[in-house]
């Protein structure tokens, strides 16, 4: 028996495609040799200046230069351009490395099949799925992964207005200085910790109210003896069917302090009406109540789906044992619902941390406060970072905040992923 696998593998490691050539896959081998050559040429000749630019971020800012007798403003290096190009170049380089590694693995795999004297060609059927995936992968790499990489890079620079905005000035790497500023410099840290505290309070309250609200409404409809269940379900789902931005903007008008209908009803009863969106405390109450209006239908639909899935024989057995309705609810319905919806609770919590729409469209983060830097009383971390980016050009702080939110969400996601794994393996209820 010949040792095809090792030979093909070493040849492919020497130069991509040689192993395939050795395995008598001439077309594939030729293609890979060409890719290898192109890769070396590109990395050496074209990509390295960009990679270097990613490292230096430009050396000359906009400056005066003598042209003949007069001084002229000459545009300098554009640090952000250089960074974008650098990241793209790095991605292309990574792509080549991946192809190179895959090429070795392919050569070894085909070689091994030859050792076992199987038809090496049957491996070729695995090209088609990659053809299908090419477009999706390009989309994800450039518009999901690249922005993530880019965000993590910006967080370690001083890219912010007013002093470091290209093309006028250069941007530089500053290490952890941005995070240091965010945590320790009073101007930023007060806002950051204030907004973060509110974000957590909001996420917990918004999740809990919607979740238990949904369970209660679902149970209310599902009671024995309540008729027209389909009709009630349909009716309660209406808030979910209206586009969120529309209902939120409408709510904003309904809660208008002077002219809104809610306060009008208050006045009809001789009450004064409340500053729903203008008072720091009431604004917080308003966003949570409005969020219940939007979020309860979702939980309700989910819980109703679960209720129909509870095996009837559980209740029958309970009846035989003489359980009261309350005991049945307490010992069958509730554990079942809680168990089945637990993962959704985590997703909703993560979603609420990032619940941009409710805050931004309803209050815009207001009422404004002097205590915060570029943020209002109801701003969440995400709306704050949106404002920092679009309105105040504080890109590095925005990037640092994004990273921190991401780390938190990622932790939740991992917990969630683990749980879904364990869900599949264990029995539903012991």
């Amino acid at each position: 028996m010949k040792r095809h696998a090792a030979a093909a593998g070493w040849l492919s490691a020497l130069c991509a495609g040689l192993g395939q050539w050795y395995n008598r896959q001439y077309a594939k081998g030729l293609l890979l040799v060409l890719i290898h050559a192109a890769g070396i040429y590109l990395i050496a000749a074209k990509l390295s200046p960009y990679l270097k630019g990613l490292y230096t971020l430009g050396t000359k800012g906009q400056h005066l230069e003598k042209v003949g007798k007069i001084s002229k403003m000459v545009p300098g290096d554009h640090s952000i351009f250089m960074m974008i190009h650098g990241v793209m170049a790095a991605l292309v380089a990574v792509l080549f490395v991946v192809i190179y590694i895959l090429n070795i693995r392919d050569a070894v795999a085909v070689g091994r099949r030859r050792e076992l004297e199987k038809d090496p060609r049957s491996l070729n059927s695995s090209v088609f799925p990659w053809m299908l995936l090419a477009l999706p992968i390009i989309g994800v790499v450039f518009f999901t992964i690249m922005p993530i990489v880019f965000t993590s890079l910006i967080a370690f620079t001083n890219y912010a207005s007013p002093n470091h905005i290209p093309p006028k000035n250069l941007v530089d790497w500053v290490g952890f200085a941005t995070f240091h500023k965010l945590f320790n410099l009073n101007v930023w840290s007060n806002t950051f910790f204030g907004v973060m505290t509110w974000t957590f309070i909001w996420a917990v309250l918004a999740t809990v109210t919607c979740y238990f609200g949904g369970i209660l409404v679902a149970l209310l409809i599902n009671q024995q003896g309540v008729r027209f269940k389909g009709f009630w379900r349909m009716l309660f789902i209406i808030p979910y069917a209206i586009p969120q931005f529309v209902s939120l903007l409408i709510m904003r008008n309904m809660l208008n302090e002077k002219f809104g209908p809610i306060n009008q009803y208050f006045r009809a009863f001789g009450l004064e009406g409340l500053p729903w969106l203008n008072d720091p405390i009431w604004a917080k109450v308003s966003v949570i109540v409005v969020n219940m209006w939007i979020g309860i239908p979702v939980s309700m639909v989910l819980v109703m789906g679960i209720l129909t899935n509870i095996p009837k024989d559980l209740y029958e057995a309970a009846d035989v044992d003489g359980a009261s309705p309350w005991m049945k609810f307490r010992n069958i319905t509730l554990p079942y619902v809680l168990f089945a919806t637990a993962p959704i609770l985590i997703t909703q919590f993560a979603g609420n941390i990032n619940n941009f729409n409710v805050i931004f469209l309803l209050t815009g983060g207001n009422p404004a406060t002097m205590a915060y830097n570029n943020a209002g009383e109801t701003d969440l971390l995400v709306t704050w970072l949106y404002k920092l980016t679009l309105d105040f050009n504080q890109y590095n702080i925005a990037a640092a905040v994004s990273i921190l939110i991401f780390l938190f969400i990622a932790t939740l996601a991992i917990v969630m992923y683990r749980r879904t794994r364990s869900f599949r393996e264990e029995d539903m209820i012991q």
Binding site: H78, I80, I84, S126, F128, P129, L133, P136, I137, G139, V140, F143, T144, M146, P147, T151, I154, L220, Q223, G225, W232, L235, F236, I237, I238, Y240, P243, Q244, F245, V246, S247, L249, I250, M251, N253, F259, W293, V301, P343, I344, T347, N354, N357, F360, L361, V382, L385, Y386, L388, T389, L390, Y395, A399, S402, I405, F406, I409, A410, A413, Y417
Partner: protein, 276 residues
């Protein structure tokens, strides 16, 4: 009737009113004479269709090009729908039907990236589009909506998984190519899931505010979400009845679509919990 049931019905009616009130109030306001938010009567004393006509009429006093916004939104949503659906179908089909090297790890990456909230990269997208001069183009918006569609492929994959493999194997024995199997056997069978994906991507683009406001700068390019937000923000509710009419016209297609796709709702919501 038992007291418990009476109480339950009372609660149900109350919740029902709370659900309906904002929508009803907006619809009624859109038919009311005058332009103010304030009104003495819930049901208008004088009815008019003027506000709906106004939306599509040019006026010098203010810039509310509603018809343009509607067309923009329609255009952006439709193109994103076609691109996004295509990308999502291809991904789901590849993962469901083929066992290729790296499939498992690629699926894990997809799952994890899918949990990454897209707009956390809003800062990066803003800077990239800004630097490359792509800000204020609708194509940038379409790309943002459809490029990440692959990450939401788990519902579609679940659907493809239920189509029996014997169908394809039979076709393969008859000599059909991969492409032919996909277009002639799989696609006709997956009409429900195609409908579901296209409707959700369409609705997603239709109602998005975050990215639309970030990318589109000039009023003529805005979508409805940005435009309507701006009416409230800039005119401070002085054009309320007009805004209400605008809202009604925005909500009608989406609400209709939603009622149609309702039966998929639970699957879509729990996809995050049971995929893997």
């Amino acid at each position: 009737m038992k007291p418990r049931l009476v109480l339950s019905y009372a609660l149900l009616v109350l919740i029902g009113c709370a659900c309906l009130y904002p929508a009803l109030w907006t619809v009624l306001s859109s038919f009311r004479v005058g332009n103010s938010l304030f009104s003495d009567h819930f049901i208008p004393t004088k009815w008019t269709l003027d506000h709906y006509r106004d939306l599509f009429r040019d006026r010098d006093t203010r810039s509310i090009p509603y018809a343009t916004w509607y067309l923009n939104t329609l255009k952006v949503s439709t193109v994103s729908m076609v691109l996004g659906t295509l990308i999502q179908l291809l991904t789901a089909y590849a993962f469901s039907r083929f066992r290729f090297n790296g499939r498992k790890s690629l699926m894990t990456v997809t799952l994890i990236l899918g949990m990454f909230p897209g707009f956390l990269s809003i800062m990066a997208l803003f800077v990239i589009f800004n630097t490359l001069n792509l800000l204020d183009t609708q194509w940038a918006l379409i790309i943002v909506y459809s490029a990440g569609a692959a990450l939401g492929m788990f519902v579609a994959k679940g659907f493809f998984d239920t189509i029996p493999r014997s169908l394809e194997e039979a076709a393969r024995i008859d000599g059909a190519s991969h492409m032919r199997i996909f277009t002639n056997i799989i696609l006709p069978l997956s009409r429900p899931i195609i409908t579901y994906i296209s409707l959700t991507t369409f609705a997603g683009a239709w109602v998005d505010f975050i990215f639309a406001r970030m990318i589109l700068r000039t009023p003529e390019k805005w979508t409805l979400a940005v435009g309507l937000w701006n009416i409230i923000d800039a005119y401070n509710s002085t054009e309320f009845t007009l805004f209400a009419a605008g809202c009604v016209l925005v909500a009608i297609p989406i609400t209709t679509l939603f009622m149609y796709t309702q039966r998929f709702l639970v699957d879509g919501l729990t996809a995050g919990a049971s995929k893997g």
